[in-house]
Amino acid sequence: MTERTFNRVSPLQDVAVQGRFGADRGAVGVSFTVRHPMSIITVIARAGQGAATAEALKGYDAQWAGPDQWFVLAEGRGEGALYRELKSKLSGLASVSDQSHGRVIIRIAGTKARAVLAKGTPVDLHADVFPAGKSALTQMAHVGVHLTRVDADTYDLSVFRGFSESFWEWITEQAEEFGYQVI
């Protein structure tokens, strides 16, 4: 039998068209990037193993995703590689599941990024309480969003794949008044 390999296609491939949109004077307020392809793994610590799991995840790009729960991310790793690695490493400590195909991460960056997000989320995004590296679970436009601050003006928004197109249309509309670029 011939071995077939399938290319992973971003669910936003036909929607996230490159270019500049919205207000067309001056510098753009924000830019959007679809981070793809990503390895996204959900880690949920077993009862009483929260601290041990957090310790074992040191060195990984692990983002808080609820009490004793994390999203572990990696770019440029082969299909399922990170899942298999964590599965064996966290054996007995935590339940691990591969969400790489289930979620889409949209990166929003720019001086107006906070202003765009503030239209949708009640989370306080002031740097004193929401510094770089911090994550929050919230809702924007009725869609569950895992929000992470990457640096002062950059945020990652992780949403379920099935909601990603609707979410993309909503968030780009919010950015129109500032002018936005899709990279």
Binding site: G66, P67, P122, V123, D124, V129, A136, L137, T138, Q139, G144
Partner: protein
């Protein structure tokens, strides 16, 4: 109405799904003599004017079950604890009453 989630911080009520009164305690036995207790647990609810503890699921956030204490008269929210912490507190109180 703002609810202080112990995991996420202060969030609006729109992110939460309410289940109802957290006061009834589930009977621990199926013994026929406990049918009266089951009937009470399943069907009978107080409708207090004042302070009430209610189960709330933070469905739009950390997805944890909480117990929110609020005032039905003034809509003031006094606080929120995890359902687990609430259950162990209730258990401790029940044990204290028995002793």
């Amino acid at each position: 109405m703002l609810i202080p989630c112990p995991h996420c911080g202060t969030r609006p009520v729109e992110e939460f799904t309410f289940l109802g009164d957290a006061a009834p305690t589930r009977p621990t036995t199926n013994d026929p003599s406990s049918m009266e207790a089951w009937y009470e647990y399943v069907y009978l609810r107080n409708n207090p004017r004042g302070t009430i503890d209610e189960y709330a699921h933070h469905s739009g956030g950390c997805r944890a079950w909480l117990v929110v204490q609020r005032n039905t008269e003034t809509h003031e929210v006094y606080g929120a604890v995890t359902a687990r912490a609430f259950a162990s507190r209730k258990e401790a109180v029940a044990k204290g009453e028995q002793a």
